[in-house]
């Protein structure tokens, strides 16, 4: 069972102090964004469903940082708020989408699980587990035909490996030499069902290896690791025009969704080692060790980020709700 908290260290990137500070700030932004989002959910401003990305920040921020979004594309899964922030969408528009307002990234029609932005090459946000994997494979196929060296990054969770389209898609990607990186964010649970109860093999890389593609299991908690792996793997995919499957080991702090109380199916003792290897903590400690920031400066940064996001929440609240006539718009074009 691969739920161990032991990291699979492959390498760690040596980045400039400025870059490391930026990465910390980005991960903090996601963490604080989710805190405020959950608060607004409990306040009743956000309706429906809410899936927090807290705990998994080093995966999305690391991999997206290494992408070239002038030519690469992302196909995302439903736990998409963090990735929206990582590609640079304004939190005002993300909150507005969560509030169902017109200024939302999807005009309020998609909601939490259906964020999208063509300019950032961010192809959603999809509310059906595994559904985006085949779509991403088609994006990769088209990018290969364009011949500009672009690749597709497809994010999904460990539960998605159990769907039929995962296997149909990996077969196609390998058969057709598609430049795609499948990133399985293994947070140990398919909703509330633990990995060893939903997957016949718990080393998920083994499930992809059967399609004849390179696979790699990495520590998803340390952004030094995820970023280094992303840079190396993307360069290889561009050069070889072959798909790669990544299993990033991480942990979901909250339940599956906001209504889910995870201690029905996992214990605080089990959560502890993961919380001690928190992605923000790991990078923060490194910044302190390398004398780039002090603990006080890190806390000041967190407070600054939280204050900025409070302002974004307020700005999103100012966006009007869609008018009734908008119900009929965009069904077809």
């Amino acid at each position: 069972m691969s739920t161990s908290s032991e990291p699979v260290i492959s390498d760690r990137v040596a980045e400039s102090p400025e870059k490391l500070r930026t990465l910390l700030r980005r991960m903090m932004t996601i963490r604080e964004f989710e805190h405020l989002g959950e608060r607004e959910f409990r306040n009743g401003l956000i309706r429906g469903y809410y899936h927090s990305y807290a705990g998994q920040e080093a995966v999305g921020v690391g991999f997206i940082e290494a992408m070239d979004l002038t030519r690469d594309y992302i196909v995302d899964h439903y736990r998409d708020h963090g990735h929206c922030l990582a590609v640079g969408l304004d939190a005002v528009n993300i909150y507005a989408e969560l509030f169902g307002r017109r200024a939302g990234v999807s005009k309020g029609k998609g909601g939490s699980m259906h964020m999208y932005n063509q300019e950032k090459h961010f192809l959603g946000g999809d509310g059906i587990v595994g559904g985006g994997i085949s779509v991403a494979t088609g994006v990769g196929l088209a990018l290969k035909r364009m011949g500009k060296g672009g690749l597709c990054v497809c994010f999904f969770g460990d539960g998605a490996l159990d769907t039929g389209t995962f296997h149909e898609s990996l077969n196609m990607a390998s058969l057709w030499d598609v430049p795609i990186v499948y990133i399985c964010i293994n947070n140990q649970f398919s909703m509330g069902t633990r990995l060893d109860r939903h997957s016949s093999l718990t080393q998920l890389v083994d499930r992809a290896a059967g399609y004849g593609m390179a696979t790699e299991q990495i520590d998803g908690q340390d952004i030094g690791v995820t970023l280094a792996a992303a840079e190396r793997i993307f360069a290889g995919v561009r050069e070889r025009q072959r798909p790669v499957f990544i299993e990033a080991l991480t942990y979901r702090y909250q339940g599956h969704g906001i209504h889910d109380k995870p201690h029905n199916y996992r214990t605080p003792e089990e959560e502890d080692p993961w919380i001690h290897r928190d992605p923000l903590l790991i990078l923060g400690q490194r910044l302190i060790e390398e004398k780039i920031m002090t603990g006080e400066q890190i806390e000041a940064m967190r407070q600054e980020v939280a204050a900025e996001l409070e302002a974004k929440v307020e700005a999103a609240k100012q966006s009007p709700a869609p008018e009734d006539r908008e119900l009929y718009e965009d069904v077809t074009l």
Binding site: S106, V135, M172
Partner: protein, 323 residues
């Protein structure tokens, strides 16, 4: 140029691929094999395997891949060996393709095409008419031509449309219909019905392989002094409401005929539309003649009993004419 229905399909694909390099074909056995019904025969020689892509037998990922390629600027046309198999891709069609523009603002210009319908003893999984799954799904267009001219002209329009189009070809018609088809730039509009035969006494509203059946009945009944108007819907979503109402107002009596099963079939929807928009124009009840509410049986005599026939149509028409 005299072409069969399936040759007209092939010509539309070829012309659109020549016109637009973003158009490419994806499907099982569409390359050297030429397609299960030879609708793509020779196209791999003309365009190469990159634009006429043989795919693994995996309809769900095939449709998903087409959607992804469409997001990034391509215009894929996916062939199903039998339209029954679109059931395997249901999620990709009704969730991803149909709702991408509404939920995201992302157009999905794809065509999902292939043979539907019975009458050739294909049995329960190779004879179905799946249109109503998709007519009931906002965001899609659903098209089914009845003639070779329309097969070509509607498919060309479908490929140029910026929405996902389910393009149902009736396999019974593939080689039984042969007619003069215009060469080159001949487009038929989506969303417009066609009066296949004008008549004053009664409208038969239908589509697909039931169009020639209705025309056959109309010929026979004309000898008995009954003039049927046959309206070929051609596009099932969006329905041509104006065309339907105009025909109903001309004749004031309507029978809806389809090869799909009865409950939840298109006839129910058309009946409701006529009640809402043309109640005062009608001089009789709206009748429907459809396939039975059963799976499609293999046994040829059973399949004959399952499908509407010209004889039963004539009987229903006479019943309606008496009002």
């Amino acid at each position: 140029m005299q072409l069969t229905y399936v040759e007209a399909i092939r010509l539309a694909l070829e012309e659109e691929m020549r016109r637009d390099p973003a158009v490419f074909l994806l499907g099982e056995d569409i390359g050297v094999y030429g397609g299960a019904f030879k609708a793509t025969a020779g196209l791999v020689d003309a365009f190469g395997p990159v634009r006429v892509m043989d795919a693994p037998l995996a309809e769900s990922a095939l449709v998903g891949a087409a959607i992804g390629a469409a997001y990034t600027g391509m215009r894929p046309v996916v062939e199903f060996q039998f339209m029954d198999f679109i059931a395997c891709a249901f999620n990709q069609v009704v969730n991803f393709a149909a709702k991408s523009h509404y939920r995201w603002g992302a157009p999905v210009p794809i065509v999902l095409r292939g043979p539907a319908g019975g009458g050739v003893h294909g049995g329960p999984f190779h004879s179905q008419n799946p249109e109503m799954h998709f007519v009931h799904t906002p965001g899609l267009k659903v098209v089914e031509p009845a003639t070779a001219v329309d097969a070509k002209g509607l498919l060309k329009s479908a490929i140029r449309d910026n929405n996902p189009v389910i393009f149902l070809e009736h396999k019974f018609l593939y080689r039984r219909v042969k007619e003069d088809v215009p060469e080159g730039e001949h487009l038929e509009p989506l969303g417009k019905a066609r009066v296949a035969r004008p008549g004053r006494d009664l409208s038969v509203i239908t589509y697909g392989a039931m169009v020639p059946l209705a025309l056959e009945a109309a010929d026979r009944l004309a000898g008995e002094g009954l003039e049927l108007e046959v309206l070929d819907l051609r596009t099932l979503l969006p329905l041509d409401l104006e065309g339907i109402l105009a025909s109903a107002r001309r004749t004031s009596k309507v029978l809806v005929l389809h090869e799909d099963t009865r409950t939840g079939g298109l006839a129910g929807e058309i009946t409701a539309l006529l009640q809402e928009h043309a109640y005062d124009d009608l001089d009789g009840p709206i009748l429907r003649l459809t396939a039975a509410d059963t799976p499609v049986p293999f046994s040829p005599p059973l399949e004959e009993a399952f499908l509407p026939s010209a004889a039963r149509l004539a009987e229903s028409v006479k019943q309606l004419a008496r009002y």
